[in-house]
Symmetry: D3
Subunit: 240 residues, 6 copies
């Protein structure tokens, strides 16, 4: 039994609210318990320099956190004049994860930018971001398909992400902030709909983890991600 | 009759939702029609350098806009490495407006930071920010009063703000984005509960405005701000 | 009677010295009492990106202050690596004010950059900058007309600016630094030659101002700006 | 058989040359084939702000690449004015990996900074950096023990790192640049002397990897890291 | 005979106007022909970190150029967000030159900052800056001596600077911009009142210079600097 | 007799190791005693903006120092977010020195970038950089001649550099760090193969130097540079 009453392999309450804001081609509020992330997908006809004239497209992500998304206020990166290392690491992870299910050739020479902004943080913001961004990306691609800008679907897979960790010696799924800050080990996993890995990132600052512990965490992640992908599909089934 | 059916002196639908996020001492979602701004008030025991050891406090504001709060995506200021001139101008305005009703001596040597982040923009983001930030500040101050950190109330006034402008030759209240981008003149007004001015900022890029037009806009602002202050009071009356 | 012997509605001694430096198409030293600002107008055949190929021109401004223009040395913005919020706010105001009397279509696809650099500060630097910049702009445009680069005059108005405020309970015109730092309210006004408003910016950090006080300040501004526009015309009448 | 004649589970020629430069408390040239990284450990009596007065120490890392360490010249981060996301990600990884075997309490209130600078890049720079940095850190700690600044050894483990990947459908160990740029999957592993994981970072941009592939890569990493740790021990046995 | 009628060893008209602006402890307008530089000396009771608590003082310089000091407008360094290499090089030179005649022990733990800002450029801005800054520094030090903050004079020498060069095969003194931009070689010399060198900086981008040419330029510099030092003394003799 | 046993006019042991790293068109490790600098020459088909379409080429340099190249660790410029004044000054000097022997017309519209990175510092890093960079540039140019990209040799001269100074009242050649930090005067000289000057930079922070001292230092530099140019020629004679 965990501090919030969940079992070891239980996700927090999940919701994926589409059309959360009105301007973006895709806009999803992704909540994992108290963690809330707005994920928008914006279509741009302008690609990065290295792709100009190539006929190929790009999918990239930017991540941010409102200063008071956290228990104590963190500084505003725009005011500080640079994005921190953690921010860059997370937005690179989100971008790679979604490019993994995208045929950039089929997308044509255009970019889709995924903005993931954390309104409220309680652990697992990067996994909520990836899971929500996939739905926002789907909506944006559908818009392009519907208005004829795209002839065929460039998305060839489904992506979701979840965190796992070792807390008090036990492997658990989808850590909230109190669990995360006390965890001995932290493993973020990104998987596709076939249960194959897109990213695996495990870290032990204090206590190194054994192969058996890794296996247990991977099993939990597999179960959690299947459930998250079900949430994604249900969200998409709702009338837009 | 305006493009959205409002009369010239009519505000858009207003809401001020307290406790919108869970961590901040004050957290308000301020919406003026489709414009949505999260305003949080964070208490810090650390004041800026020029006040250290003075026994006096500080109230300041930071403003930001999610990249896809707007019709076409704007760049992320944190990624660009600096805040734009418009952003700095707005956050300085918010800070001055709220300091105008605050006794910084009575606040004691602590700072309250107001973060105003635009989730969705449709004109009037700065006025929605000021109007919401006042409620968030009130909640934060009440927290300090309740937990005994403050002996007496340092807030000596109420502040709200609204925009007015000349659209198609007619003075109108609380412009939305289509009106704002077509306006000949734009006037933002910040007032206290006694109907006195804290800020008046009028701009004409193309068509200069006459004294009579200014007077008409000030009358509209006066009416609008009284209504906004009523919304503020009603929001505070709701059980926290 | 004011601390320097002026009456409430009296400007400080004004001078607008053209051809102050030798390289710029327009170069004016604008002095309001001890406040001294060099205003240069530079013609560039290169416009900002959003205007390239449009056939339309641009007028913009940059503002700076020598580090020891002030009573105690302020840091050099170039060394600090960014322009402060106050600087950006002022240069945006100068740019808007002068664009208000400029037909950018008629200017053709070229830019005029107004650099306003404060050599000595004693209150009212932004109003001295706008008043001097208009004369520098006029000289630069005349150069373009004389050398045939322009067929018709793109300037359709005259612009000057002045500050007013409430000092010790009384409305006064053209505040110097001691008055400004003790003022309860500060109002900067930019007007054209027809007495219509281009910008009105009033601020009360401590004491909010009433409609009657605003009216009194606007009356003072109107009188002061008429006199400043007379100074501008006299400066232009002198042989170049 | 791989393009350079190695078997799937074979490391490139490894060398760890201590005392490579003369000033640092620890200085190691770490080479994995053609990849060459200088790793220096510098002792500082100054800790980051959040540790001042705590009695606890800190271990951190910075990573850089000479502009022409690579096949085509990359820009100099110092000239560009910021470190890229990849750089920050790698230096955070190096820092975490070495803190994992350090008792920061026992280190006392001092910092050890690990600078890892790539002279020549041919794949695996981060793993060569971690493997070399551990030896440099060991030398720096030994200096502190020998001169009496430390009473007891704060290092409680040994750390090395290696990359593995799936190339042409086969799992291989210690990828060089041609293999790395063609790999379907890339897995970096950091382990301690007990064979437990400190970091696991696996990425698939195109082809997602199955659990069986992950297991095969982890087996290769385990073998490679044991060999690297033997290289580390041999390097330390040589007379300083 | 030179293009402006001067002989090879003739300075341009020189003036050193003290008390040019009103706030600084020393304020000198230094003009060498059409080159005009404002040099202010500001006394600060705050020294750089490496001197705090040492009882020793510091003299440093900052250099800037108004954007339209030059024939075509150069960008504003504050807007670009950094000082260029040429600026940093010049301000380091000014600082070193003036520290060379200052007893920093005798100055006590305070700093004097020399701001040299070019209003109009026509060659030789760095030499006009050094020559003017020495007079401004002298005035600032005299203020400290007069108000009792200093017991004894920390200035033990006099400093002036001049440029020389090879133009059309002939060594000439004090080059203006047309000469400078066509010069084969450019030599800046800083000397004290005893005719000894504080700085010698000679550069040949195209045509390397022989020892005999160097000697001829040094002779010219010696003559020019003696005259400049006479100008400095005369300026100081005028009633303040 | 000097502290390391050298005579006043004796260089430290010099070596210029070509092909030090594998990727660059020219790559030289330049060592002057314990000072070690990697100098690489990279050919780029992209020239700076002001040369595009001109048919002319460019040679430029960038300089850096590994953080622990020095006795105590200096900060990493990339992490600090800007290059220091000393760095910019040195890289500008290296660039000018090598452009002095280059026919940029004959180079064609391409750039050669010289990266000089200090691995270990013990005085004279800029002179070791220039001396090594010339050899790297030669190798890069030879590559272009051999592969037919260049028809004729754009290099028309040989460049080397050395430092001299006054230490304990005596002029000495090629100062190491202990001598440099105690020197009263420091003179860096860059010469071509005809013994003519490309750069002369002499600095006295405390003790000004007389003409006779300057002459003695120039004589030493002349002797030292002839020897360094012999080292350069020998390095180039070795089979690549």
């Amino acid at each position: 039994m965990r501090h919030d009453g969940r079992t070891a392999d239980q996700l927090r309450p999940i919701s994926l609210t589409r059309h959360f804001t009105m301007h973006a081609e895709g806009s999803v509020l992704s909540t994992f318990g108290n963690t809330q992330v707005i994920c928008t997908a914006s279509v741009s006809e302008r690609v990065p320099g290295f792709l100009r004239g190539s006929g190929r497209g790009w999918v990239t992500a930017e991540y941010g956190m409102l200063p008071r998304a956290t228990g104590s206020r963190s500084y505003r990166e725009a005011a500080r004049g640079k994005q921190g290392g953690r921010t860059l690491e997370i937005q690179r992870l989100i971008g790679r994860s979604l490019r993994a299910v995208m045929d950039l050739e089929a997308l044509g020479e255009r970019a889709i930018i995924l903005d993931c902004d954390v309104l409220q943080a309680d652990g697992g913001t990067r996994t909520a971001a990836i899971t929500g961004a996939w739905v926002a990306l789907k909506d944006a691609v559908n818009t392009l398909l519907e208005n004829g800008a795209l002839k065929r679907n460039p998305m060839h897979g489904q992506v979701a992400a979840v965190s796992t960790g070792i807390v008090d010696g036990h492997p658990v799924l989808d850590l909230d902030y109190p669990e995360d800050s006390g965890a001995e080990t932290d493993l973020n996993v990104v998987m596709n709909e076939a249960g194959a890995f897109i990213e695996v990132q495990g870290t032990a600052e204090g206590h190194a983890f054994r192969r058996g512990e890794l296996d247990a965490m991977l099993d939990l992640a597999d179960k959690g991600i299947r459930e998250l992908q079900e949430h994604q599909r249900q969200a998409l089934e709702q009338a837009s």
